[in-house]
Structure formats: structure tokens, C-alpha cells
Amino acid sequence: MSRASRIAFFPRASPLHAARASIAAAYGCVLALAALITPDPVLLGALLVSVLAAAFGAGVGREISRAARTAALPIILLTVLVNVLVSREGLTVFARLGDWGVLGQVNLTVEAVVFGLVLALRLMVVTLSCLLVVCAANPDELLLAFRRISPRSALTATLTTRLIPVLGADARRLAEAQRCRPDGGARGARGRMAILKATVAGALDRSLDVAAVLEMRGYGTARPARGSRAPLSRHDVAFASSSVAVLLITVYASVAGLGSFSPYPLVSMSVTPALLVAAALLVLVALAPFCDRKGIER
């Protein structure tokens, strides 16, 4: 499988990759948190733009936008559908579907559709921000940081993160070997079960080998790891500052009521100049660290 098709961390020459893993992860998490804080569609839109642009700035735009394309439609459809079916608060009915048993009388309203779309937008920002963390924060560094808190849990996490791709590759190999059988191998659900069983059996052997290697590398001794006190790089400072600024702008916009959005009972939304400035500022501060391309090559 090519690198471009995988949602996984690969070292790249980008400002976000040049920042330490904890700060890169915090940056992605702040974008997700901001989406959870603000209900305003304008700010959510600004956050979506920020996440996508940040992904391209970090060199993982293709992976993230592919994931967005793949995930967007199901997320939007599902969220809108569920909201439309369960919401009882909208007034502008555009379809009456009658009595649906447990759901009772189902009336589809414009307000429920709009709120469903805003919810879907929020979910998209959260999902893509998490994917940005996966692609840009070095998991080894994160695990190392986690080990200082809980060595045993970190061991489990290390084994799991290592074994998941290995087992995925095993399953692909097994499926390929089945295609080499003269009868084409067991097909359908039975075939998949057989491959799953064989993969699990192989996983035990694999786990033993990986665990043996870990043991020989001294994981069992679990002596406290002494972290390196590396000085903060320009990218560490930039992304940490950016994260704080994004959070402050979002909180301020929400608390100060720069804009208002209320889906029920009728959709009402006010877009003030202050809100537009806040949205533009949010995009600018989120993306500013990507302008600094110095020292990004490792």
C-alpha cells in the first residue's frame, strides 16, 4: 500500500512535523475542541477551512481530503437523517411521513435539516482534526511521554500499534494465498471467517516474536525513562502559540456573543462584522505557523 493512501504518521518536511509530537497533537486537539465549543456555523466553517489548509500545509492534505471525501457523505447523511427523524422542535414542515411506531408521528422540518448539517460540519472538523493528529504527531514520541506516566499501559499500546499494521498485512497475504488455491479458496462469510481464524492463529506467533524482541530490548525492566530536555524549537513555539490563540478566539466569540445561531423553532442566524473578523482571524492564527518553513527538514 502506498504512503499516500494511508492515514498514518510518516516523517515529512513540514512545520507541523518539525514541532514536537506533544505540541503537534495539542494543536490538532485544540482545533477539535474549538469545534466542540462553538455552535456557530461561520466559526465551524472557518475551523474546517483551517483543518484542511493545515493538512495541506503539513503535507498530508491528500490523505486527509481523501478521508474527508470518504467520510463526509456518510457523516452528513447519517447526522441529518437521525436529526430529522428524532427532532420535534422545527416548525417548517416539508414532509409528513405519518406514524412510525416507536418514533411516533414523523414530520420532516427544514430546521432539523439545517441543524443536522451544522452537527455534521462539527463532526467533520473533529474527525479531520483527529486524523491530522494521527498523520502529524509522532506516535513514538507520544508513547514515550505516556510511558513516564504508565509504563505497562504504554507497552500494551506499543504492541497494539505495532501489531495492527502487521496483522493487516498478514490478512492481505492470507487472502492472496487463498486466491491461489485451485478452487479460489473459501468465499463469502465462510471464507472471511477462515481467513480471520488463520490471521488470529498467526497473530499469536507474531505477538510472541514481537514480545521476545521487546523483552530483549529491556522493556520488562521498565526503568524510568529520562526524557530529553530538548529546547523548544521555533515550530514548537509557533504551534503552541497558535493553539492558545485559536482557543481564546473561539471562547471569546462564544462568550461575547459575536454571532448568534438558533435552529429552533425557526432558523435564525446573525452574522455580524465582528463574527466575520473573528472567523478570519481564527483561520489566520491557525495557519500562521505554516508560513515559517525554516528548519523543517530532518
Binding site: S2, R162, V166, P182, A212, R217, R226, G227, S228, R298
Partner: protein, 552 residues
Amino acid sequence: MSVLRFDHVSYAYPAVQRDAISDVSLAIEPGEFCVVAGLSGSGKSTLLRAAAGLVPHFHGGRFAGTVTVGGLDTREHGPAEAGEVAGTVLQDPETQVIMTTVRAELSLALENRGQAGASVARAVEETSLSLGIAHLLDRATAELSGGELQRVALASALVCRPSLVLLDEPTSQLDPVAGDELIWQLRRLNQESDTAVLLIEHRLERCLAAADRVIALSEGRVVCDRDPRGFLEWAAESAPGLATPGARMFARAGLRPPPTGVKQARAALRGAGLLHETRDPAENPPVVADTRSRPRPLAAMRRRSRVQQPALALKGVWHEITRGPTVLRSVDLSIQAGERVVLMGRNGAGKSTLLRHAAGLLQPTRGSVQSSGRVALLLQNPGDYFLHERADQEVSEDALRMVGLAGLGARNPRDLSGGQRQRLALAIVLGGSEPASVLALDEPTRGMDTASKRRLARWLRARAGEGAAVVLATHDAEFAAEFADRAVLLADGRVIADGPIEQVLAGGRYFATETARILDGARGVLRPEQGADLLLARSAGEQYAAPQGVRS
């Protein structure tokens, strides 16, 4: 003080009666380079695992005797503590690399041992520089080739500056170039830092020249512990299956002492006046470099190709991965029924992809693949074919008999030996109502000892004799010479040489047998028996009849 010491060590795996190693006593001194030889199942890997402290701590079982590693008794100190004295590299590089980046992988062992950040950084830097992998430090481990992964595994074992390195067939999954590089890196490490090396290896011709000492095991016991030359003399008498091709050639030609490598062999032949160093065009056949203009020295083959449809034909096959590399570039290849063909080339040259196209597992992005019947493909891991818990649930008793596994139907396929698993997988792919017209195998000899390879070569020749075209990808030039009548050399997805095996392998440096390298490929001899005949003819002043397929 010995860096590793075994005192009357016996060990049996859990729920197994027979000892895997039995009453083993030996000592490895600082700075020694020891090779461990033996057939499959002789206890080599168990010996290594005992030295690493994995036996008995990790595997359990019945253990007697004492193993001390750098003065640490492994009964009291586990693999983690033994790991500070002895770095270990196992066979499969995939399962030895744990972290996401090479830098993190190299740091892991040191961080586990609580070393300070600066000290970790320095050790990682120095180890990567000494092994020539500094450029890989920030690469993702998932993107590394097999050879690179194995070098990273070696670096991870060396980063704690161990006084002993234990290696279990580290070259078995590498191409000849990467395998040789790894062995010479070990030799350099051994000479420059006095690190003792204990290396398990099946292809002894690859490492004996670098070794100080060879320990041979048979049925869990040490049966020989001598210097390489002494070992080869012992092997000639007691274990011919362990003798290197060069030693076999010398023994057959009545020359003494056996050579431990190409340089020593050539010096001996030069001294005896048996090495013709002027390159005589009559003695050195040209390597054919173009498929389409390939001369066909075998007249029968040429006649047959005019009248018969090929068993397998690839015409201008390209394999281009979307947003990825081009793996095959306009490959033309035609294989007749009954032909025995080897595909050779570096890792990533396109051999496995070509076989997958032949079997229809992949579709060419351009070009076409045609076959006269079913193509049975055996992939690299025979275990991937097994879905059941009994061999006779995988195939019929008749099929088991066909591959020499009669009576083993009740065994779990995963409990069979490497060679037996291979044959069971062959029985699976060869089964079905339609007989296979092409049998394709991808790296079938990985981790096999010489005896098993010979059995496999015989079996495959018999299938070709029955009319099947047999094509296999291998890095093993000795096996290729034993089995094939034609070799196709691939590089960067292109066919760069295609011709009778005597022409392609005799003229090479890496893709050549030891016999061919000793004799400069003279007269296209590849196998020790042919080499000995040539030497006997030279010493008698007679004309040597070149093997079939070589133009005089």
C-alpha cells in the same frame, strides 16, 4: 572471562519429550567470530535463544545446566539483563522492528534502560554512522526494504554496545548483495570493536571466510567445534550436506585443504597452476542481455518453441502503481512447457510481482499475460495457505502422498517442519481437477538447509519432466544452478539478462555460484561437480566438455 559460556546445557520445549539441545558445553571468547552450522532442527536457534536468555525465561520448558552471558547466569537474569551484554538479531526483520521511525527504534533499548537523553542521542548517532544507516534515521520503519530493516534490527542490537552479538539467519530474507553487506558489516564490527559474534547461517559459503570458528550441531549436540578449515575437513567426512560448494569442488577434484572462501580457493588453484587467469573467450561465455535477441543454444528448445504455444507468455507487461512506483517495465517473457526457469535480481526488482501477474493475482496496467492452462503459484510463506487444523483437511491423502507427506495427515500443518509445510502448500496449489501447466514459486528455499533444497530441486525437476513449466524467484544462486536450465535476471522491473543458466550465472559477481566465482565462470560451470571435472581435465591437460547450453 568468556563472553558466553554453556556448561552441560540441555533444554526441551514445553510439552516436548525430546531435548532441543542436549548436554551442550562451549565458550565464546571476546572478539571471536563464530558461525553455528547444522541442518534444520539441529538446535541452532534454541542455542541462540538460550544465549539470549529467552530460554527458559520466555519459552518455559525443561532446562538443565548453566548459561552465563558476560558473567550473568541466565537462570537468575532474564533476557532484558542479558540484552545489555548480548544484542540479538532474529530471522524475520518485520517482527523485530517495533517503533514507527528508525531513530525511535534505535533509542528504545537505551531509553528502556533509563539512559539520559544526551547519551541516547549520542549512541544512536554513532551506531547509525558505524552501520551506514544515518540517512535512515528519520525514515518511517514501515517504508524500509527488507535489507534496510535488517540493518536497523542489527543497529538496535548494537546500540547498547554489547560485547556479544547473536544472529539467527539474518540474511535468509535478503538478496545476495544485502546479505553480503550484512556479513561484512559484522566482520568490520568484530574487527574494529572486538565484539564477539555468534552467527547462525545456512549459506556457509557466505560467511566462512569471515569466521574464526565454526560450531556444528546435530540433533541438539555439538558435533564439531573447529576453525573454518577444520570444520570443512570434518564436514567432507561426516556431514557432506554442510560442506560449502568450494569445499565440495576441491574434495571431488582431490585437492586439499578445503578453501573457506573464493579468495583462498583461487590462491590454492593459482598455486597448483589450475586457474586460467587470462580471460579466454572460449572459456568465458557471454552473458545474454536482451530477451528478444536471446540465442537458444538448446536446439530442442528452439524447435519446440516454433511449434508449441508457450506455457506462459508475458507480452510488454507493465505494472504501474497509482501514485506509486513502476514495478514492471515492458516485460516480455515466454516459457515453454517443461522449462525450468529462475527469476533472480535484487529485492524490489519485480520478481514477486511478475509471478503474481503470471498467476492472475494482478492485472497488468499495460501488456498481456497468457498461459496454456492453470498457473499454480506458491507464495513466500507456505503457512498462509493453511486454514485447517489437520493436514488431511487441507488436501486429500492422495495429494499428500504425491508430495511425500503420506502418514502426516493427522498433523497440524503449523507443527510440520519448514520443508514439510512447503510441500503441503505445494499440494494445495497443485490440487484441483485441472492440472497446472505452470508451477510458479516465490522464494521457496528461504531458511531451508542444503538437504531440503536438494530434495525440493529434485521434486521440481520431476514436475518439469512431466511437462509442467516451472518458474521460481530466488536469491539462492546455488539452488538456481541445481534446479534450472534458464535464468532471467531482473533489475528495476526490466529483464536485463535472459539465457541458459550457465551463461547468466557464470558471468556474474553477485548473481553467481561460488564455483563460478572461483573459476571466473570458465566454461559456464556452476556446480561443484562440474567445477571438479573442469579442474581434473585441466590437471590432466584434457579438453573439458562444457555443460549443455554454453557456446564453445
